[in-house]
Structures are given as C-alpha cells and as structure tokens.
Amino acid sequence: MSSFWEYANPRKFMRTTNWLLPLVAAASVVVTATGLIWGFFFTPDDFRQGSTVKIIFLHVPAALMAINAWIMMLVASLVWVVRRHHVSALAAKAAAPVGLVMTLIALFTGAVWGQPMWGTWWAWDPRLTSFLILFLFYLGYIALWAAIDDPDTGADLTAVLCLVGTVFALLSRYAAFFWSQGLHQGASLSLQPGTRVDWAYKAPLYVSMSGFVLIFVALVLAGTRTEIRARRMKALVARERMA
C-alpha cells in the first residue's frame, strides 16, 4: 500500500477520494440512521430517567466526535508543521466546521438531557462548560483561517494556534471541573460514555457512534477536496497574473 506520505500530492488524494468519498458518505447515512432509529424506537425507557435516556444516542457520539475532531486537527497540524504535507493542513481546515457543529450538538443535547434533573435549560455543569470552551476554541481556529489570505502562512499560524490551543483546552477542562465543585450533582447521571449502561443501550450507542465517525470522515474528505480545488484555483490565478 503506498505510504501515507504519497498523499502529500493532492492529485493522488483526489484520485483516491473519488471513489472513497461516495462509499463513506453512503455508509455514514446508513449506519447513523440505523443507530438512531434503533436507539429512538426500540430501546426501553430507563426506570429513572424515563425517555430522556434516548438522548444519549445523540449526545455521546457528538461529544466524542467534538473531541476527536480537535485531536485529528492537532495531528494534522503536526504533520503539516513537520512534513509540509499540504493535504493534512487542508484536512485540518476542513475538519474544523464539523467539530464546531458536533460541539454544538453535544452542548444542546447535553443541556436538554440534564434539563429534567437540573430544572433549568442550562446548568454550568463542568462537562457542558468544557464543551462550551471547546466551542470557543473552534471559533477562534476557523476565524484565524478566514482572516489570513496567504494559504501557507494561514496553515502555519493555525497549526501553531492548534498546538497551543490544545494545551489551554486541557487546562480549561481541568479548570472547569475545579471551578464547579460548588455545584455538586449526582454522578449517577454520568454523561461519560460507557458507564454502567446495560447492553440494551450499548449496542445502538456503538452503532450511532460509528455512524457519527463516518459522518465526520465523509465531511472532512469532502471538505479537503474543496480546499484542494480552492487552492488549485488560487494557484492558477496567481500563475495567470504572473504570466
């Protein structure tokens, strides 16, 4: 199999994703649909939470994807800084909006899920707060990309921002937990995935998780292709002006 560095050349990446993208897109629709339908229609109500437990099929995958998207952007930024691998820089840029939306979904579903228990639409629960902070980091990252016109300077600056931002995102997450000791609430309702959830829920949960991963991959591939085309257009126009 050709090595990962072969894909530095956008041409090869475009050829490969020509057939890969439709496959992943179709798979993402199918898997996510089955996961959500299975979770929504065919799971019993939880004896304590009632039907709100059905929200975990949205919240947990979205929350995981929000974090994994940032990790993917971090890795892509490192690959760009170390190896000047164009496609990874553009993939990082393409991944940011998906991460942003996943964070939004995680925030909204988390707030709605906690609402019956906290009695309010928004409670400064440390987990939700750290997603709110992650949302700000995504916003800053996308805004920085948009503000810079030279693509390579943009890739470099956003890569550095991603590296520094990751450290501060982790610190902020810790700070949010430290800061919320005042607001103590039962740990039973844990938003963390994979806690004492019996099998009837775990199965659809894993399915919708993989569905969300596929959605992320499909959108990133599509986004990267668009970024490559935009870069190609910019290069052609630059060459035209130079001629």
């Binding site: 959500l36 009632g50 039907s51 709100t52 909006p97 979904i105 019956p116 085309r229 257009m233 035209e240």
Partner: protein, 52 residues
C-alpha cells in the same frame, strides 16, 4: 409507531430535531461550498484553456 415518550417527550423530540437539523445544516454547507468552488475552478480552467 412513535413510542410513548412520557413526561419528557418535548425534550427528547427537540433534542433529536435540533441535532438532525444541525447535521443537515453542516452537510448542506459543505455541499454548497463544494459546488461553488468546483464551478469557479471549472470557470478558471476553461479560461486558461482558451488563452493557452
């Protein structure tokens, strides 16, 4: 066919509706941008072919 969602029906439904709307929104955004950039690129490429 809709399961009895009990007391929190509105919460569960709103969570699903909003989430799916957000997902549809981001997919649409990627799709529209892809189409716009592709058409601009084709335009530039045709212009280049004519001048070469």
């Amino acid at each position: 066919m809709i399961p009895d969602l009990g007391r929190y029906a509105s919460e569960v439904l709103s969570a699903y509706v909003v989430s799916l709307a957000l997902l549809a929104g981001v997919v649409a955004w990627y799709w529209l941008r892809a189409r716009a950039v592709r058409s601009q690129l084709d335009q530039v490429e045709q212009r280049q072919e004519r001048t070469e």
